[in-house]
């Protein structure tokens, strides 16, 4: 049924009826559903890659109250995927940038900005009172924090996470369904946590996953369809495959199980072992022997210089490299294949972009009997900053 712009429908103004017309004519939404959206509230944790499309679509769809939590400022390197922000917003707080953009898309949306990093001290008060939470955070402590707070508050949350070309989405803490801890009881050790800054991410991927999150949030508000409760959607954009796996609530879950041991928020930085690095910050490295860039430069100039291995990918090598000092490109995934070409007694210095992958490489070499392998602290970006400014950083 087409609804004329001049006719008032239920509690919607004529302008709202026109704005949301394509949605209102859906039998599953209708005027009552649109009103429900108007009176609904959704909190978005993280105004980054996932939070951007989620916020845009939820605002456009007419969710009446939107909250945005993010303590960061907009950086130029965000703009490849964080479509909520634009070039003039670089340097501004993300929540302010998000608020301005949302207001331009839909001035009827009430926006609440929380320009803070979510932590155990503020999470319960910030997350309380929302109909749905969308988790678009970028680090494990915040993910466990959002999970626990939502379980304790009884607020369902839409989970999304991305890595390179792949993503995950689900709905947690909804009814009798599982929570994030039911799926991942323990956080990974910090040394196994490459960030998007380190590993890269296809810009459109969070667009895809964040849009799925917005879709689920709208479904939850409207009470329509089959939400991703008890299901984990796996998105692989290279294969362009969507698969799903079945999730169950874990009766032994520490927070939503039959006998929960977590009844209030804990110290999530400690719980995750220091894995709190946001995507733009350095990640904690495996504890391996290191050398800093000045020491390496000094050693290159005298005696027997160390063998230098670059464990990045060929396209990164083309951006910058230490070939002038004899560096050899051996991508991390091929390191095991060249072990017999290396001398365990020889000094080896390994570098990557910032030192994370090279730390893994040093670990792998150490376990293969190479006791003199060293990780170049800060990677080639640090070399570019302190030794050779003619090299680009990336």
């Amino acid at each position: 049924m087409a609804i004329g712009a001049g006719r008032r429908v239920a509690g919607l103004t004529p302008e709202e009826t026109l704005r949301y017309h394509r949605q209102i004519i859906l039998p599953q939404v209708g005027p009552a559903g649109q009103e429900r959206l108007k009176h609904a509230s959704v909190l978005i944790v993280g105004a980054g890659g996932l939070g951007s499309p989620a916020a845009l679509y939820l605002a456009a769809a007419g969710v009446g109250r939107l909250g945005v939590v993010d303590g960061d400022v907009v950086e130029l390197s965000n703009l490849q995927r964080q479509v909520l922000h634009d070039t003039p917003s670089v340097g501004r707080s993300k929540t302010e940038s998000a608020g301005r953009r949302i207001a331009r898309i839909n001035p009827d949306v009430r926006i609440e900005e929380y320009p803070v990093r979510l932590d155990s001290g503020n999470a319960m008060s910030i997350l309380d009172g929302w109909d749905v939470v969308v988790d678009g955070s970028d680090n494990f402590p915040t993910r466990y924090l959002v999970n626990d707070a939502c379980v304790l508050l009884g607020v369902p949350f839409v989970y999304g996470a991305i890595f390179r070309f792949e993503g995950q989405a689900s709905v947690f803490a909804h009814g009798d369904g599982p929570c994030y801890r039911c799926l991942f009881r323990d956080p990974p050790p910090p040394e196994m946590v490459p960030s998007c800054a380190e590993a890269g991410v296809l810009g459109v991927l969070p667009g895809l996953v964040g849009t799925i999150q917005a879709t689920e949030a709208i479904k939850l508000v409207l009470g329509i369809g089959d939400p991703l409760v008890g299901r984990l959607l796996l998105v692989d954009t290279l294969a362009m495959q969507f698969r799903e796996v079945e999730l169950r609530r874990d009766p032994g879950c520490a927070v939503c199980g039959d006998a929960p041991t977590i009844t209030e928020l804990i110290d999530y930085e400690e719980f995750c072992g220091g894995a709190a690095a946001p995507s733009a910050a350095p990640v904690e490295r495996p504890s391996v022997p290191e050398i800093d860039v000045e020491e390496l430069r000094a050693r290159i100039g005298v005696g027997q210089p160390p063998r230098i291995l670059d464990v990045r990918e060929p396209h990164e090598w083309r951006i910058s490299n230490l070939e002038a000092y004899g560096a050899r490109l051996v991508p991390l995934g091929q390191l095991q294949d060249v072990l017999d070409e290396l001398d365990p007694a020889e000094d080896v210095v390994i570098y990557c972009r910032t030192g994370h992958r090279s730390a893994i490489a040093v670990q792998q070499l150490a376990s293969a009997g190479f006791e003199k392998a060293l990780n170049l602290r800060g990677g080639i970006n640090e070399w570019a900053r302190r030794i050779d400014p003619s090299l680009p950083t990336y």
Binding site: S137, I162, D186, R248, L332, G333
Partner: protein
């Protein structure tokens, strides 16, 4: 690149390796094993993919709790013995926790 392992004559199933773990398989996103049960597949992973196995399994042999394994979409932790048989179409999905946003 495809790697086949196992004993011929048994169903050849597929293991999906997610992006965060591909550095442990030389970049391969699919592994193929010939096996009768998913437990045989796990054993073959231990034998032929030590780097991947090191990431998947704790010292006591259990799957680490920040990684989940799903056989045809069902969590291995909940699978009864009768459901652990693999067929030619079986897919073992490795699902690690990722935090990117």
């Amino acid at each position: 690149m495809i790697v086949t392992a196992g004993v011929s004559g048994l169903p050849r199933m597929t293991v999906h390796v997610p992006a965060p773990l591909r550095e442990l398989t030389g970049g391969r996103d699919r592994l193929h094993f010939e096996a009768r049960t998913v437990d045989d597949v796990l054993e073959l992973i231990r034998e032929t993919e030590p780097l991947l196995a090191g990431r998947l399994f704790a010292d006591d042999g259990s799957v680490r709790r920040y990684i989940n394994l799903f056989l045809n979409g069902a969590d291995l932790r909940h699978l009864e013995a009768a459901d652990r048989t693999v067929s030619r179409d079986s897919v073992l999905s490795i699902v690690p926790s990722v935090a990117g946003g």
